[in-house]
Amino acid sequence: MRSILALAVLLAVAPLLIVPLGGYHALLSEMVIFAVFAIGFNLLLGYTGILSFGHAAYFGLAGYTMGLLLIHSDLPLWAAMLAGVLAAGVAAVIIGLLIIRKAGIYFAMLTIAFGQMFFFVAMRWKSVTGGEDGLSDIPRKTLFGLDLSSPVRFYYFTAVVCLAAAVVAWRVIHSSFGDVLRAIRENEARCAAIGYDVRRYKLASFVIAALFAAVSGTLYVLLLRYAFPQTMDWIRSGNVVVMSLVGGLGTFSGPIVGATLVTFLNNYISFHTRYWQLVMGVVFVVFVMFFPRGIAGYVLEARRRFRR
């Protein structure tokens, strides 16, 4: 639980540290929002060892669903968010059931295919989704009477959600369910041979990651007050893979470190050079080639050595 406490403290004081360094609250919110996405994704990729390139679909689906409800209905914010997350969850269960029996590269390709399907629906179904222009002017409304319109307040709202997400992930990781996920990553055949229904666990992991993505997606759409097709294309799905790798796969703090760092760098570098995508590409290549265990992975090892 020390990690959770540390995270809480960090989230609380982050504005004081980041803003003087050239950050701003909307950027901080974005960093925290992607941390939520990455925390969930880490359960899938880092702990279960399943690579998906399609989880942005659930991120976007939840965002669009919530956005449409906020625009067209009188539902309160919490209900619209919940509906968005549930819609993504249902989609993840259906898609997961269809593709979870595939392994490795075939599975990854299918996740891309389904993800792109959502992207194209958002792009083409103009009457509902606004097509490539997206959904604009999504009202942020109040949350249980709390006004979220100021960037600072919205940041603290995302920070609380992020903390909650981290607690949930912590409990999952440290449960017997989490042990089985890790066992699947280590040795799937053996896991089945001792009596675990591996497919069901993988599906659960897939859906949990989708739910985290969905929560993150609703927050993101609320932050921008805007939903657009690119929220769900495979580039964003790939981005969360990058975040997980840079932060450190299969570590608790890795996704948080990776998501905040990559988001910050994306913003920071894109201001300084028009070749920022190239720079980010190089950063990624360097990590995969020379620091495959990610930042958190090396920090943990250094600490372990230091203690010895």
Binding site: A183, I194, G195
Partner: protein, 492 residues
């Protein structure tokens, strides 16, 4: 005596191959039942059927009277059938205790921690409970593999070569463990094992398989006395072959040494497979490499080919030191390997399979055509099969394609790994003739065979491997007449 497990007419086919064919097994409660047979007999396939990894095409599996045919691995495990793996299968990044706890929970133990403690004692790893499994020695990992199966509190234990890759002193511990499980705890065990001394000492009953079928069954003494079993292990050839062989053999004069191994040792991970191997193959010779399953024959070939770098020793080919050369480098010197199991591409035609070696090398078109023509001259049956897909061929035809594919790329040294595996005796004869013909064309051959009789008929000299060491070396003609050596190292 009560029966706990039985199969009735269990069969599975892979394309044209009947890998397991009408297998009937009956396992007594509290017994150790061994399944043995030469390589390619279908033991592993049988094991995969029993553990639900593959589904049978026919037949039934009954466990405690219940039909469990077609259940998935995890469902069988829930019923109480636990297995170990031939290639160690543990959770390397978890501690020993975590490994066992996962299994105990999966087995719905009322007190998982207590079950973990029991198993730790049983497999003698209590002192290493907190060690990461991947950091342990090979022997400890093998025991943990069995321990994981035990922790699920099964009613039936399926062990797939539990002593594979173990040095003798560790083997003893494993044997003691399996015996203890039966004697003290009443476990029922189905065991696949290659080390015959072990099989004979611990089995209550033995089933012998060959070509997917049961050819003998009984107590160790009954099985040992069965001529069919002896035949299965040594193989057989037609009498007409020898005359041709000697004729062909006489035609060639062995040249200077082409391949030399000096003190070669090779390991897979933690387990050392080859110990100080030295052998020589002269130009124009056929040299046989014999030995039981797991003796290190395939590893020797893979080491020569550069697929496995040796720990120690030197390998020289035609004056070049190839000890650290890449497989491509070795191949470019004219060395070809026909691996076990043929590896013919199922969805390519025979012609396409034969053209494969040319895709990667810059062979001119004229050269390619002439080599293909030569190849079809050697293997006339392949001409008619030219546009057939790989999976539409019989086993013998597949073997021919595999050999032909290895020779077309201008090879002058060919290594064949178990070419006669799974072939009918008539086809084995034909195969032997082809190998002789290849040699006549100036190709030197190193032949790994289970079918010792066939190998010794066509070979000039032979080496016998046991537990990764060369234990005997002689002219083939001498060895052929020496049943004592053959029986000791090759049968049981």
């Amino acid at each position: 005596m009560t029966e706990i497990f039985r199969t009735e007419g269990l069969s599975v086919r892979f394309g044209a191959l009947a890998a397991v064919d009408g297998m009937d097994l009956s396992i007594e409660q509290g017994s150790i039942h061994c399944v043995i047979g030469p390589n390619g007999a279908g033991k592993t396939t049988l094991f995969n059927l029993l553990t639900g990894t593959i589904r049978p095409s026919a037949g039934r599996i009954l466990f405690r009277g219940e039909d469990v045919t077609g259940l998935k691995p995890h469902e069988l495990a829930r019923k109480g059938i636990a297995r170990s793996f031939q290639i160690t299968s543990i959770f390397p990044e978890l501690t020993v205790r975590e490994n066992l706890r996962l299994a105990a929970r999966a087995g719905r133990a009322t007190d998982p921690e207590a079950r973990v403690r029991e198993v730790l004692e049983e497999i003698e790893l209590a002192s290493k409970a907190s060690v990461l499994a991947g950091f342990m020695s090979h022997g400890d990992q093998r025991h943990l593999d069995i321990g994981i199966a035990l922790a699920t509190s099964p009613a039936l234990l399926l062990l797939d070569e539990p002593t594979a890759g173990m040095p003798p002193h560790e083997t003893e511990g494993t044997v003691a463990l399996v015996r203890r499980l039966r004697d003290q705890h009443g476990y029922t065990t189905i065991l696949i094992e290659h080390k015959m001394d072990i099989v004979m000492s611990i089995s209550d009953r033995i089933t012998v398989m060959r070509s997917g079928r049961k050819i003998a069954e009984g107590t160790p003494t009954q099985v040992q006395a069965d001529p069919a079993v002896r035949e299965a292990y040594l193989g057989g050839v037609d009498a007409s072959l020898s005359a041709k062989a000697h004729q062909a053999g006489a035609a060639t004069e062995p040249g200077p040494p082409l391949l030399t191994l000096e003190g070669v040792s090779t390991s897979y991970g933690l387990s050392q497979i080859l110990h100080d191997i030295s052998l020589t193959v002269r130009g124009g010779e056929i040299v046989a490499l014999l030995g039981r399953n797991g003796a290190g024959k395939t590893t020797t070939l893979r080491t020569i080919m550069g697929l496995l770098p040796p720990r120690r020793g030197t390998i020289r080919f035609d004056g070049h030191d190839i000890t650290r050369l890449s497989p491509e480098g070795v191949a470019n010197l004219g060395v070809g390997l026909v691996p076990e199991g043929r590896r013919v591409f199922a969805n390519l035609t025979v012609g396409e399979n034969l053209l494969l070696p040319f895709f990667m090398s810059g062979v001119p078109a004229v050269e390619r055509t002439s080599q293909l023509r030569r190849c079809f001259e050697w293997f006339p049956t392949l001409v008619q099969r030219k546009s057939n897909r790989g999976d539409r061929l019989s086993g013998g035809e597949q073997q021919m394609v595999a050999i032909a594919r290895a020779v077309v790329g201008r090879r002058r040294f060919l290594m064949l790994d178990e070419p006669s595996q799974g072939l009918a005796p008539r086809v084995v004869n034909h195969l032997a003739e082809i190998i002789l013909e290849i040699r006549k064309q100036g190709v030197t051959v190193l032949l790994v065979e289970q079918n010792a009789r066939m190998a010794l008929e066509i070979a000039d000299r032979a080496y016998v491997l046991e537990d990764g060491r060369i234990v005997h070396e002689d002219a083939a003609a001498v060895l052929r007449e020496n049943p004592a050596v053959l029986g000791k190292h090759l049968v049981m």
